[in-house]
Structure formats: structure tokens, C-alpha cells
Symmetry: C2
Subunit: 421 residues, 2 copies
């Protein structure tokens, strides 16, 4: 990782274009840590064209052999729901999904730009939305595997869009909301210091120290207590805590999420019990799910309610057997800069870094010791869950306590009122 291109000017004196360029630099140098002659595949919304252009320039400067951007367009997605024949909703262009998988297989890095309208599909038929999501997840499974296994260097970061900005800043006009969201993204993405590449290095070392402490503990479970929550999350056998950047299967160190504040590991798919209430709404593929409350027995959700989006929630957890079990548990201190911003981003990439969370669905093989070399059956025997989905879901807040439960059944305080003890 090189700081050679990090600008020396104080952040406050930069123009918007210079700030955007700095985030693009961080995406390439910190997020991907792109290597000379590597290929990159970018996925973005048409709202992100100026940002993609900055990123592409930095990618070529870093030695990229080719930069290919696959653009999605909210308007044509809606046109599909309005006009396409019914059969469309069980169909996904497999050639494109397979092509992306082939790109990763041949050494390409992957950069995702989040920020499309989180409420895009809220007025669409939930049955069609769910069918389309299932079709996409199925087609994308080979492309998602090198991502979940961290076989390649990849990163996801966010860019503001008008629709997203209006949701985060409902009282501002669009002309003010979009720049306000960009500023919030810049702060949350830790690029406001004089040398963001060096700042990211320090931030990564801090998270790594916390991860090391958790790995030494070898807890058998975590116990969450808070308003509407009394949940025991058993941890997978040979689980590993992770967080911040890491070395991928291709040997490249990358930061897969910008921002990232979490320490996370793999729960045991059969050893989760109790009740849990979401501390923030969940925005899932265009539908907003609010005030989720769920009861687990033997690892499985046996009761699921929500004050809004309940249908979408129930469809989500019935996508497959693993969709009603946990694939991730993560701890985030309430003092995280994103929590402190006081904003609800309506976007998992940000909101999951404002609060401790759990994820329904697929587990990360890398969070099991030697897991990247195990087949699915061996991983499952350790307790790692399998599913087409992986949906993060916030359960932490300043009112939630967490205990670490040892293998002998005794426990010790880990977080109190959302902060590390």
C-alpha cells in the first residue's frame, strides 16, 4: 500500500471534486489495494458516473490492465416491474453472472459502489421482488463464492445518489441533501485526515488488536441483553474473529468494506436461541423492513414479525433452509463515528458499522480456522451456515449489553451500554 498519491492539503480546503477524487484514491489503494496489471470489474449505478470516472483513472494509474464498469439503472429496473412479462421475474441473464465469475477466476478484482435508491422497489409486488432476488442470487452464486471466500481482493464503498440522500436527509432539498450525504460518506469513510491512506493503516491496526483479544478468549457463545432482546448466539467450532482488512486468497491485502468498524465471526447455525429486536430498520433490496422482532429456537427463526415490510421479511427467511439461520455475528462499539453521526443511512454498509449486528444466511468460510480449504459439509459440521442470502441486521445500541460465555458456562462482561468493557 503506497501513500505516494495521498494529497497533503487539509480536507476542509478541498473542492468537492478533489474530495471525490480522494475517496476514489482510497477505493483503489486502500479498498482494493489494486496490483499492477490486475483487471477490475466495477458495479455502479448511473448516478455514479463522475465517481466511476475518478476511480477508473486511479485504477489505471495503479497499473490496471482493464477497468470494466457494469452500470445498473433504477429507471429501467422500474420499467421491468411495470412492463415485463411474468416469466421475467424468474429469469436472470446467467451469461453475465457467469462472465463475472470468470473474471474473478482469471484474477480480476471487484469494486462495488453502493448507494442506489434503497426504497426503489417499495411499491412493487413483493412476490415479484422476491422471485427476482432469488433468480439473481441463484445465478450469481458462482460469482459470489470468490467474494465470500475472500479468494480475490474486493471492496465495496458508497456514493451518494439523489434518492438515497432524500431518505437520509428528508428535511433537505435535493440540491442540499446530495452534498450533505457525500460529506457524511467522506467522514464515515475516514478520508478527512491529511493522509487518508496512512489513517486507514492505523485504523486497521486498532481493529486487528481487538480481533486478536477476541480470538484469544475462545468464547462458546455471546449473550445479548437489551430492550426486546435476550439472545444467546453460540459461536461455531474453531470460529475466528475478523475485522478491518485482510489478506485474500490471491495474497493481496484488501479492505473489503469502506467504512468498516466491526469485529465479526461465524455463529453456530444450530445454537442460537431467544428473542432479538432490531435496533435499526433494515433496507433489503429496495424494501424497508422496520421494527423486526424475531425468536430463535435451535438456531432457527420460529417467529418473525415487523411493523413494516413483514411480508418481505418472511419471504426473505424462507428463500432456503439456511435463510432462517445466522451466518454472522458482529460487535461494533456505540462510539463508532457512524453511530456518533446520529444519522440513519438506510444502507447496511454504514448502519452495520454503527451497531452490533447479526446476519441471516451464508457464513464466511474465512471465519472458521482453515475454513477456506474445507468443503461445505465440513464447514457445516463446524456450525457454518449455507444460504443464497446474506443479510445484515442491526441489534446493537447504547442500551445493549453483551457478555462473553465461556465453554464452562461462566460468562464475563464484554460490552456495557454498547461500549467495550
Amino acid at each position: 500500500m503506497s501513500t505516494v498519491e495521498a494529497p497533503a492539503k487539509p480536507f476542509g480546503t478541498l473542492t468537492f471534486e478533489e474530495k471525490l477524487d480522494r475517496l476514489a484514491l482510497v477505493a483503489v489503494r486502500v479498498g482494493l489495494n489494486l496490483q499492477p496489471e490486475q483487471e477490475v470489474v466495477i458495479s455502479a449505478s448511473l448516478d455514479h458516473v463522475p465517481f466511476v470516472r475518478r476511480i477508473t483513472e486511479h485504477a489505471y494509474k495503479a497499473g490496471a490492465k482493464a477497468v470494466t464498469t457494469l452500470y445498473a439503472d433504477d429507471e429501467t429496473i422500474l420499467a421491468r416491474y411495470k412492463y415485463a412479462p411474468d416469466a421475467s421475474f424468474d429469469f436472470t441473464p446467467k451469461w453475465l453472472a457467469d462472465g463475472i465469475a470468470a473474471a474473478y477466476g482469471s484474477g480480476a478484482a471487484r469494486l462495488g459502489i453502493a448507494g442506489a435508491n434503497p426504497a426503489l422497489l417499495k411499491d412493487q409486488d413483493p412476490a415479484k421482488v422476491s422471485r427476482a432476488n432469488v433468480a439473481t442470487s441463484k445465478a450469481m452464486k458462482p460469482a459470489m463464492e470468490p467474494i465470500t471466500r475472500h479468494a480475490i481482493n474486493w471492496s465495496i464503498l458508497a456514493g451518494a445518489t439523489p434518492a438515497w440522500a432524500k431518505l437520509v436527509f428528508p428535511h433537505l432539498h435535493e440540491a442540499e441533501a446530495v452534498p450533505a450525504l457525500w460529506e457524511a460518506i467522506f467522514k464515515a469513510s475516514r478520508i478527512t485526515g491529511d493522509d487518508p491512506v496512512a489513517d486507514w493503516k492505523q485504523h486497521g491496526q486498532n481493529i486487528a488488536a481487538q480481533v486478536d483479544r477476541l480470538n484469544e478468549k475462545r468464547y462458546s457463545a455471546l449473550h445479548f441483553r437489551g430492550p426486546g432482546t435476550d439472545l444467546t448466539v453460540g459461536l461455531a467450532d474453531d470460529h475466528l474473529w475478523a475485522g478491518g482488512g485482510g489478506v485474500c486468497g490471491n495474497g493481496i491485502f484488501c479492505n473489503a468494506n469502506i467504512p468498516t468498524e466491526e469485529c465479526f465471526t461465524t455463529p453456530h447455525k444450530d445454537r442460537v436461541s431467544g428473542t432479538v429486536s432490531a435496533s435499526k430498520p433494515l433496507s433489503h433490496q429496495g424494501t424497508l423492513i422496520e421494527n423486526i422482532q424475531v425468536r430463535f429456537e435451535g438456531g432457527r427463526i420460529v417467529e418473525a414479525n415487523a411493523s413494516a415490510g413483514q411480508d418481505a421479511l418472511r419471504k426473505l427467511i424462507s428463500v432456503d433452509e439456511g435463510a432462517s439461520r445466522l451466518g454472522e455475528v458482529a460487535l461494533v462499539p456505540h462510539s463508532s463515528p457512524i453511530a456518533q453521526s446520529g444519522l440513519l443511512f438506510w444502507n447496511t454498509l454504514f448502519d452495520e458499522n454503527a451497531a452490533s449486528h447479526i446476519a441471516l444466511g451464508q457464513a464466511y468460510a474465512t471465519c472458521i480456522r482453515e475454513g477456506e480449504h474445507m468443503d461445505e459439509a465440513t464447514l457445516a459440521a463446524k456450525g457454518a451456515n449455507t444460504s443464497l442470502i446474506h443479510v445484515d441486521w442491526m441489534i446493537g445500541s447504547g442500551e445493549v449489553d453483551v457478555d462473553g460465555v465461556r465453554t464452562d458456562g461462566t460468562s464475563e462482561p464484554l460490552m456495557r451500554q454498547g461500549e467495550w468493557v
Copy 2:
């Protein structure tokens, strides 16, 4: 083909958005003749987003199962030439080319929107431009095969862009040039009548009648005479004339070019001799080649000159063995609406329909009787040329005469001063 959605309002009373929508309708219904539950892959420039949105809506209305648009961006193409490492110019993402080929193989239709800046690469290193073109052509060969063989329904039409408009209307400001170019495109694309779908049907019947007359003649060669031109183009054995729409290998009738005014066939790759002068400049992948003059012996170019872009021309014809031989000869009357517009479009799709032309490189197998069922060696024995390139190149004008040469060596007038006799 259905005229059900063709608007009844006179063209002159339509808003720009309504005119654009009408061209989008013609693209889907006339160009592709898209079938219910067919998939479509669109390639377009980021300048074409509003046009792509209109097309996508009409595609879904026609029953498309999925519409995928692959966007190119002039700015990131230039960033590559400015910043990418040298190895980049021999590399093309093969996963994407193979993905597109797989899409066609699984039944997708293909729509191309032309109109990107024709002079985009004029200041770039011609060696890099040529290497990049060769790499792309090689990677795209499997994807181009179903196109050149007309195995699937496909169509290419144009949308105005600021850079292109400035080239066509150098004396207008951008704000006037772009609408002027759109109007020229609308006229050339024959959508200014009250029922463009019906008008296209009539136009297709007129071209088909001319094609039938030429096919009955069984000429062995065409002889072009004009200023700087005295060229004999032998025709391939069992050549077939084609033009207008046609039934593709998948059984769907489509109009592969909008506009189209030409009748074309396959020349014999070894039987072209004499001298020919271009009647219009050639814009080839970002480079402008002007005042081309070329001499053929035994089918092969033995001398090639141009007043501008001569390097690009010589690189082009040395891409491979077939790049210096002909793969197409086409007749277009000088009374074609595009010729009559008096505009130089700097775009082959339009300019080739303003004048009789020849093409260097790959021949269309469909212009040999039963050619779509022949292997490469059998096609070559008939005289059909093979190459990675296919570049059309205008040689007709109001000053050019064409004779049809019979197998017994006698000849008859076919065109005089650019018009059918």
C-alpha cells in the same frame, strides 16, 4: 411485425421526447422485431441513457424477459490511453466477450446504438489503438459469429452525441448541433411518416425487389468507373445479393441496419483488380482516414494511400491476410435520402447508405447460397474472404458508373451517374 403501437400524430407535431420514443419503438419492433420472452443485450454510450430508457421500455412492452445494457464511456476510454500500463493494449476482458457470445447462444437479441465520438482516438498513439482493436476483435470473434452469420435477430441504429454532432455540424453550437443531428437521424431512419412501422415494411419490399433483379442476373463481376476509379470486382461463386430485412437463423425477420438503403453481396476474394478512390472519408474506430486511393491485384491491395490517416489505413489492412481483401460490395443509388441530405455523417451506418461501397475483411456467409451451413474452407473455395475486420468504405457518387459483367465477358449498364439504369 405489429403496427399496434405506432403513433398516429404527424411527426412534425411531436415533441423531441415523442420523436425519440418513436425511434425507440422502431428499434424494437422493426430493427429487432423482438419476440415475447426474448432476452436483449444493448450496447450503448453513456450519452445514450435517455434513448436506452425508451428502448428498454418498448422492449419490455414487446415481452422481453431481460434487457441488459453494456455502457461504454468515452472518458474512461481516454483515461486508459493516458494512464494504463503498456500491457493493457494487448488485453481485452475475454469474460465479457465470451459472456456476450453465450447470451446470443442462449437466444438473446442484440441491439447496438452507434454514435460515439468518431474522432475520440485521433490524438492517441496509432500503434496502441491498433493493438487494442486487434485484441478486441480477437476476443469478440465468438460473439461476432452469430451476428455475421445472422444466426440471431440483431440491429444497429444511431443516437446523437455532442461529439458526433459537432463533427457533422461544425458551424453550429453544441446546443443546436445535437438536436440537428437527431433530426437528421430521424429522417434517415425513416420514422417521419405517420406510421413508421408500415413505412419500413414498404421500404423493405422495394429493396427486396431490387435484390431479386440482381440475383436473377448472375453477374460474374461489377465494373466501377469514376474519378480516380477503374475497378473490377469479381463476385463470389454462388453469391447472393441481399438487402433490407431478412429472416435470421432463429427464424425471426429483422432489420439489421437502421437506416439501410443498400443491396450487397460477397465479392470473390481473389478476383478484384484495378484502382479505386474513396468518395467519402472513412471514420474507423476513432481515426479519420481521408482521400483513400488503393490498387488491387489478384484480389489483394498492393498499394494504399490516404491524405490523412495513412498509417491507420496501412495498419488496418495488415491486421491479417484477409484485411487487404474485399468481403462485401454494395450498390446504393445516389438518390438515397441520406445522399440527398447532403450531410457527411462521419459514421459508416449512415454514409454507407449514401453511396455504393466495398468492405475490407470478413464476408457475410449469408451472401453465399447455403453459406450459413458451410465451414470456412468451403466458403473460401467459393471466394468468401475471412478476417478479424469488416470495414465499409464508400466509393460511389453521382459521378460513378457501374456495369454488370456477365460470365461470357459481355457487360451491361447497371448504374449511370450513381442511379439505377
